[in-house]
Amino acid sequence: MRGHTLNIIFALTGLALIWSAHAGLLDNYVLTVLMFMGINVIFASSLNLVNGYMGEFSCGHAGFMCVGAYVGSLLSMALFTNSKLFGDALLPPELALPLFPLVLVAAGFAAAAFGLLVALPSFHTRDDYLAIITIAANYIIISIIENIDAIGGPRGLFGMKKTINAMGDFINAPWMFIWVVLITFVSVMILYRLVTSTCGKGIPAVCQNEVAAEIMGVNTNKVKIMAFMVSSGLAGVAGALYAHVYGYVNAQAFNILKSTEGLVMVYLGGMGSLSGVVIAAIAFTLLVEGLRFVIPFVNDLTHSLGLLPAGFEISQVWKWVIIPMILILLMQFRPEGLLGNRELTHVFPGLKKWITFK
């Protein structure tokens, strides 16, 4: 029973959220924020597998999210919706509900395949040089997609939301929200189970001493492939969810800025700490959303106090001053992140009753 307590708490929280969404207790804005929170959790915790556990510096994680977003959207449009791009739906819309997870899985596999773009060079390259390769991979992916005019090119892609609407026509429920809650839970579970198994501990072993790992029988190349593919695959799933939440994808939404957001969340939470990064992803989403209200408030306040000249407005752009500033302060005063490479159970030993990370 002991090992399942946390799962039960998560399941109950998820159910409570879904129920309140269904009952209309949460307005659309809150729902959207919660969904982006879930997507950020998947995005950041999957990046943490490479940047935290394996100690490589991947800065092109959004590229894989982009692959997942497009593959997921195209599949769901072709299969379940009548679109200009693909013509009539290949399958009856009732099947959208049971088959949607398969669309997400396919998006994940496609992104994982692109993960090889980074995984294969990583056999012979490390550190800064590999980091440059990850940036290159990010740009390669975006450029490829932007130059395929059939799927919208730089204009982006619309129409995947109809799949979600079809589910709603079939059984009335907040399906998008349900999927995000479910997949977030499953993704974190996959990562947790992987990093706590002896199989997955090959990943920190490669990070901490690659020579020793290879000599003690760890197939380091296989471990690298595993880490990069799981990481990029989950990013792809996050991307497919993102596309369906927005109802629109554009390759430029997944450029290096988006990758940087992932890095901020990982470094905020602490590299190699699954619980830390999940908390950081939630906190980061709240922070970004919170600034949406705080900035106008500060703007009005300073103007009413006469501290700022009439022509000067504090706009939302200041968000991109404040967030990097937080990163600078973090690196100055707590470079290891909120939890360092420890888990929540080390900080609050009382939690060990409920969950173990070893």
Binding site: C199, Q208, V211, A212, V218, V230, K358
Partner: protein, 255 residues
């Protein structure tokens, strides 16, 4: 058939010839030493044997199988383990995890089993955990199971590294300067430990060592190399009085 055989192995790094025409045959259940002054090419021999380098010339066979083209982890899977001159443990993982990871090449389950926590995963992990705890018990390391190696004294770290190497269930154990950095009372303990491992695990041990006390009291036969060239081989007693060896270590004036 010898357990490990090196035939006329040479290794060049660019213009530098680190090892020239090195040959040796090790049988099961032997305790052999490899000595030589600093920079003589001893660790190069171990790196060649464990698959880190591919020899420029010559042939290495382990258990009757040529090892050319095998990666180090594949050589380990054939039954060879080693320790390092400067300890190489995974410092942020627990001692228990360090030992567990020595089972990585024969996990008996895959990533999918780990994610779905299948029965196969459960059985394999249980077996790994049991064997890891056993070896920690026999090596008197059980009390450190949850510690991180970086927080342990040097001598204990050496023992952990030995325990980790033994966990791969090797037929041949390579020890690269096991006594380096140990004080004299630790060295006595190490000599007893290596002898005990040799008797208990019934394996072949090949060691590089500088400290004569260790080599003389443990090894049945010795090889001496200098500048990559084999200058002597024989029993410890023969080696001690060999003029070439004395010259290599102490210079011409010593004779």
């Amino acid at each position: 058939m010898p357990l490990l055989e090196l035939e006329n192995v040479s290794q060049r790094f660019g213009g530098l010839k680190a090892l020239t025409d090195f040959s040796i045959a090790l049988e099961d259940r032997e305790l052999v030493g490899l000595i030589g002054p600093n920079g003589a090419g001893k660790t190069t021999v171990f790196n060649l044997v464990s698959g880190f380098y591919t020899p420029s010339e010559g042939r290495i066979t382990f258990g009757g199988r040529p090892t050319r083209g095998l990666k180090p982890h594949q050589v380990t899977a054939l039954g060879m383990a080693r320790t390092f001159q400067n300890i190489r443990l995974w410092n942020d993982l627990s001692v228990l995890d360090n030992i567990r990871l020595a089972h990585h090449f024969r996990l008996g389950y895959g990533m999918v089993d780990a994610v779905f926590r299948t029965g196969r995963y459960g059985r394999a992990e249980q077996k790994i955990e049991r064997e890891a705890r056993e070896i920690l018990e026999t090596m008197e390391l059980a009390e450190f199971a949850a510690e991180q190696p970086k927080n342990l004294p040097y001598g204990v770290q050496r023992r952990v590294e030995l325990a980790r190497a033994l966990s791969t269930k090797p037929r041949l154990l390579l020890l690269d300067e096991p006594a380096a950095g140990l004080n004299s009372s630790d060295v006595d303990g190490l000599i007893r430990l290596i002898r005990w491992i040799y008797d208990e695990f019934k394996i072949c041990i090949w060691m590089i060592e500088h400290q004569m006390k260790v080599v003389m009291s443990l090894c049945q036969r010795l090889m001496v190399i200098d500048f990559g060239i084999t200058i002597a081989r024989g029993t410890p007693r023969e080696i001690q009085s060999n003029p070439d060896v004395i010259r290599a270590y102490l210079g011409d004036g010593a004779l």
